[in-house]
Symmetry: C2
Subunit: 908 residues, 2 copies
Amino acid sequence: MFETKKRVYRFGGKTAEGDGAMRELLGGKGANLAEMSRLGMPVPAGFTITTECCAEYYELGGGYTDELKAQVAEALAATEAIMGKKFGDEKDPLLVSCRSGARSSMPGMMDTILNIGLCSATLPGMIEKTGNPRFVYDAYRRLIMMYSDVVMEKAEGIEPADGQGIRQQLDRMMAELKEAKGYKSDTEITAEELKELCEKFKIRVKEVLGVEFPDTAEAQLWGSIGGVFKSWNGKRAIAYRRIEKIPDDWGTAVNVQSMVFGNMGETSATGVAFSRNPASGDNKFYGEWLINAQGEDVVAGIRTPNPLNEATKTEHNAHLQSLELAMPEVYKELDDIRVRLENHFHDMQDIEFTIQDKKLYMLQCRIGKRTGIAALQMAMDMLGEGMIDEKTAIMRVSPSQLDEILHPILDPASEKKASVIAKGLPASPGGAVGQLVFTSEAAMEAAAAGKKAILVREETSPEDIEGMRASAGILTTRGGMTSHAALVARGWGKCCIVGCEAMKINFDAKTVRFSENGPEYKEGDWFSLNGSKGYVYAEKIETMDASENPLFIKFMSIVDKYRRLGIRTNADTPEDAARALAFGAEGIGLFRIEHMFYGKNSETPLAKLRKMIMSDTDAERKAALDELEPFMKAAIKSTLKIMDGKPVVFRLLDPPLHEFVPKGEVKEKELADELGISVEEVEKRGESLKEVNPMMGLRGVRLHVAYPLIAETQYRAIFTATAELQAEGFHPIPEIMIPVTVSARELEFQKAYCERIRLEVVARTGQTLDYKFGTMIEIPRAALTADRMARTAEFFSFGTNDLTQMTFGFSRDDVGAFMGNYLGNKILDADPFQTIDTKAVGKLVEYGIQGGRSKRPDLKCGVCGEHGGDPDSVFFFNKIGLDYVSCSPFRVPIARLSAAQAAISQSK
Amino acid sequence: MFETKKRVYRFGGKTAEGDGAMRELLGGKGANLAEMSRLGMPVPAGFTITTECCAEYYELGGGYTDELKAQVAEALAATEAIMGKKFGDEKDPLLVSCRSGARSSMPGMMDTILNIGLCSATLPGMIEKTGNPRFVYDAYRRLIMMYSDVVMEKAEGIEPADGQGIRQQLDRMMAELKEAKGYKSDTEITAEELKELCEKFKIRVKEVLGVEFPDTAEAQLWGSIGGVFKSWNGKRAIAYRRIEKIPDDWGTAVNVQSMVFGNMGETSATGVAFSRNPASGDNKFYGEWLINAQGEDVVAGIRTPNPLNEATKTEHNAHLQSLELAMPEVYKELDDIRVRLENHFHDMQDIEFTIQDKKLYMLQCRIGKRTGIAALQMAMDMLGEGMIDEKTAIMRVSPSQLDEILHPILDPASEKKASVIAKGLPASPGGAVGQLVFTSEAAMEAAAAGKKAILVREETSPEDIEGMRASAGILTTRGGMTSHAALVARGWGKCCIVGCEAMKINFDAKTVRFSENGPEYKEGDWFSLNGSKGYVYAEKIETMDASENPLFIKFMSIVDKYRRLGIRTNADTPEDAARALAFGAEGIGLFRIEHMFYGKNSETPLAKLRKMIMSDTDAERKAALDELEPFMKAAIKSTLKIMDGKPVVFRLLDPPLHEFVPKGEVKEKELADELGISVEEVEKRGESLKEVNPMMGLRGVRLHVAYPLIAETQYRAIFTATAELQAEGFHPIPEIMIPVTVSARELEFQKAYCERIRLEVVARTGQTLDYKFGTMIEIPRAALTADRMARTAEFFSFGTNDLTQMTFGFSRDDVGAFMGNYLGNKILDADPFQTIDTKAVGKLVEYGIQGGRSKRPDLKCGVCGEHGGDPDSVFFFNKIGLDYVSCSPFRVPIARLSAAQAAISQSK
């Protein structure tokens, strides 16, 4: 029935039958062990059963081919020969571990069973050989616990009724023993007590699971192999494969490897190391080790680990002995391996090693994780060393690592010790620490007094802008990833968490709580926010400022060589524009005219805009607009000047008007006086602007169709600013963009007004005025009728925020109420406001580009939604042929990197 | 340069060179005149200059080919020969008219110039010949006024600076003359005074336009011909062609025709007639005439016209002499013509005639306009007479005419005399008369007292349902064509006007006004509404009840033979279902579960739904749902029973929850007591359900993902009702529909719940339960991912209301603020909530059908938006291959007719 073929691949003894390229057959772990062996490194001997045997196991109804059995026996014999011990031997038994090995690591798959081969027959010999009964019974206890849990219970699909699995029961038994004896640590338990505990464990296992714990080395080995295969079809593994779209027939390999022990005395040790410093990127061998210890002791953090070498000692471990000095020869061997691994894999390696009786064993090597700053440092160093080329260097820094570099963050070590009191949506990355304030005013006062503030709001509005700017971080109860607070904060690179629904604010008392009976926090209490994860802490955590790095500049200049997409920025003030320029923006893709009115210190007074909006007649409106125009012109001019020679897209007033209706008696009174009407009349007019669904109401171009005067004023301000700058010798490049269009006729209608005003300004100033006229494509109909739109529009800018709202029918302000449910139930794979939904929204963008270019082949197409700064979305935009993306200033470097990575990976 | 060809076609003298089929070359008017001549009817002789000459005119920079000049001279000579007079003759001059003649009549084109040929040279002869100087100078005055306005000013593109064109100036001069003389009517002006006035007119024309009024017949004729050609490129004509997509190169023809006069004494007369009664459809010759009068006198309504014959005399004109008795021979000739025209054109004709000195002339014939009831009567009569076939009969009744038949309307004659005080959106057709009420309660009291009420509201909510039902008509300030009031009213066939923005309501005083200083109306005042036009009258107007007609039944049975589309109805109660069945519905395409809770007398209490919605925990919610379930089941069962053997689509709860939050202290208190919580808690919970954009918030399937219990209860109610009916021997066909989906996984998620409940009910009742599981496609993403949706969905129902909202980003509740502007500025051709937008929304529907059927070829596709009852939309739906449309009960016959007309016209 079953084909004759190689089913088992040996490794160890500085040689191997497989190699690192055989991930499909050997799994990731098996392939890496083979590769290290081939490189002549001291890997404890063992073998890998191929992934193909997994399917055979199921075909045989849970059995093994004779060929497999024979090949395992053969490989085991070879392993025994290398290790000089025999599996199941009563005198000097070989112990092995058994691990699963899919192509990539997979949740729900069986992890590790250690110490296989310990049984009634081998225990005495093992004790005699090691002279350490406590060590042996502790190893046996661990075997029983792991095996009964993983092989006998989980792999069999047994679900304990009350959630109390065998592992929990055995843990409790051990805890009860310690309690009875008054022990604080496991190490206090004596050999005799461990022996008794093992006997009790086996009885309990029989009682609970109905099967004896296997008492031969052979039975344990095959039980473990079968356990790995069974775990492939465990519930969690299947669910994970569904989501990640991993085919069910890939199967898993099984790795069987000789045990080595770092806890066999003062000549044994264990450690983990990185070929370069994973936090800083320094090209120094960096790691930690413990004498007479097991791998998990290093990780558990009960003992402070020793430094690997003298060069990397810190204030915390300077007093401890380095491996370099303690075992110079072993260290030398390890350091050689480090260099060889890096040269072989061309990347920083994460290494696990064990020293058993002065002999070094390599247990694992893999590409090491690293911080953003380290990723940058290593990429540039390795490029300099000639180890990698430019394209590889670019691919080595992920966009999220670059993001880390651009924002201060909470110190990871300190954060680890703190406890998360609530979670929200990670709206704007980085970390922030400050004292609670509940109003914009309080935030500004705190800033003035040199204090750091965390501004807490239900949600934010344009009125909060100054307070937001003054705060170290922002935390809101409501809103999604593209709510007002999120957008503004991201634009500034300021830490922000939104949609923290657990938070109940009492504005009168200026207190906040996170659960019905939980503690109450008051104004002035210290809070810390992790805006990258959405974690809230009610304590003060240290921050790390990974500030500007000269390497960053150099790296980015390489990045720019490889990208095709242009990168612009969304900026509404000269300050934002200047910041974005410094970050490499090639123009402004979105200047929102309404934003010039935000904030109390804005040069363009909100009060005047309010007056215009609350006008009831054309005459009132005209008067208000005439007052507004010089302010508008000045704001536009200063941004055009900063961006001299680069295009600036001005989007006409867009938001629903009622956003600008004054709230509160004081503001109403102010406006009433200004307009010479009663407060009641102000309220009445405000009321008439209210809408049931403002996002789909009188906004964008609809407003300008209704009130052409408003559009004219904006056109005049743009053209006048342009003419004045030209007269002063500058080269402004204005592009005018009409928002919220649904019909080509809206554009024709606006273009006529725009041209009329342009000719007026030309006549008045004598300047030749060039500009581009285009539209946002942010409503499905605009995308679906893009061919018509392109008759008038010279450029498209896809507003993917609104396009996502309309395509999904998800209000970004209300989506918080169900997005969690949708992501949790895997109805959606990702929040479409963060990463573009390629199945529908992306289709509309593609459709829009094709339609537009069918009528106007040189149509310039960009994106100015939040997606412009999202790496996955940038990949998609590069693929479908957009000309540029525009994002908030802080996202500009990320967009540049993503664009380069997209170009590189898509050209393969 | 120019091809030799026929450029001028003569008609008259009972013969013609052209015929009725030559509309392209001769225009509509010219072709019809030729056809009547060919039929041997007495048409005043003349000729038509072809549309091709229009382009030549422009090619020649405003000139005429020699060939055209020669052919005109020839045709004029032939005309003179027939009429026995010569154009420009000093003794007995022939006068002619000149009219434009495009393929179809077109606004902005030159209409008519009469009396061409009157000039210094011909005036004396004309006076001598007629012996009536007053008649001649009056004709001359009219010529000067028409010619200077149309030819000398408008066709030349002259725009008077102050809007005071030459016509207005001449009108004022004549008014001043009358004032000075104390005359009340034009007829009092003497011949001498008219003569002087003509001289003054000519002086003013020269002053204002800088050109002499032409004083030869020849100059007037060619001036008029040129004027017609120039008007083809007038601003209004060009704008109209743009919108209607009429090619610029079609051109217009020019009709030159001999003048005849019905005002030349007691042997002359003029009249208009219809070959059958256009109001009732009666097969009786019907018309009006006036002795010694001009055509415009009949239309102007200054004199009461005489009846055409004895058979059609009415109480208003019984005392006046009929043409039948006054001029029996002429009447006989006219009646013969009537019969011949109908037999020739196979349709009712609208005729204009003039009798000059006992000689009958036919000035025009065209297909006559008619009321709905007349259209039905004529179609069925002509079918019976063998004049037309079934397909033609079906095409003869327009859907809007059928609609008229189904609703009582305001009596057109009475309405004409009343004055419109405000206009709104014509939300639900028909007429209503009643006394103003301001609350639902008052409407119900009025109904109870046997009074008719007009319910006035800002906008309506589910709470108003009973009051709406009790009213004769509904008038709201806000809302669009698919607002709550509009939808409900249309469903009931009840007259309704929405979005009457001029209306300011004072609810405290129970008064209403329509302008700042206009009159105030109070409760009890009589109002009348024309729901077909959106006209509001502050007075009592008679209504006409065009009630059930046996012809209707017969007509509809013919209609059904020719349609392909299935017709279902949107019905939520057994009463609606029964009405729809009577109107021919073949199933229910939309049963909205939430609607069973509307209205105070509903069997399913809203209070219990409220309780469920305002629950804070699963336990509270479960308890409330358990109470609700029997009510739900009963409502579902009664509808399934009525629809026995026909499919019923149940849509799960859809609207935003806060719509069901109680408003007002009394209701809040009720609910608080019911739930055993405080009023403050009720308010707090209600507040937490508020959304910024509820239309894009927690609704539809999102709600059921968040609260699976709510979905389960509905599934259980549906399956239990089905099982019970089956046990009772009925054949229920339930179809379950999930609303507001955006992702295939939402459907999989719901299907799993639904199946679980089905199996529960199967186990409990022992009934086999069949059903279909499907989804609304109402969000763009659902249409764009329809292929995935169809993996689970067995049917699609396109919810084109919501699909239009999302595709346009138009909130149906807020669209009133700008839709008027959009339609007024021709940015949109039609309200997309009334007629489906084929460019984008329709594209998504097509895309959805194709995608869905690519995965499930037998996928059933329907539409259940308001568009299902809109004729233009039904045409589109038939074309793109939908299986059925579903509409409100009153629209069912209209949908049936539209579907048949679509099938007939699309099969051509």
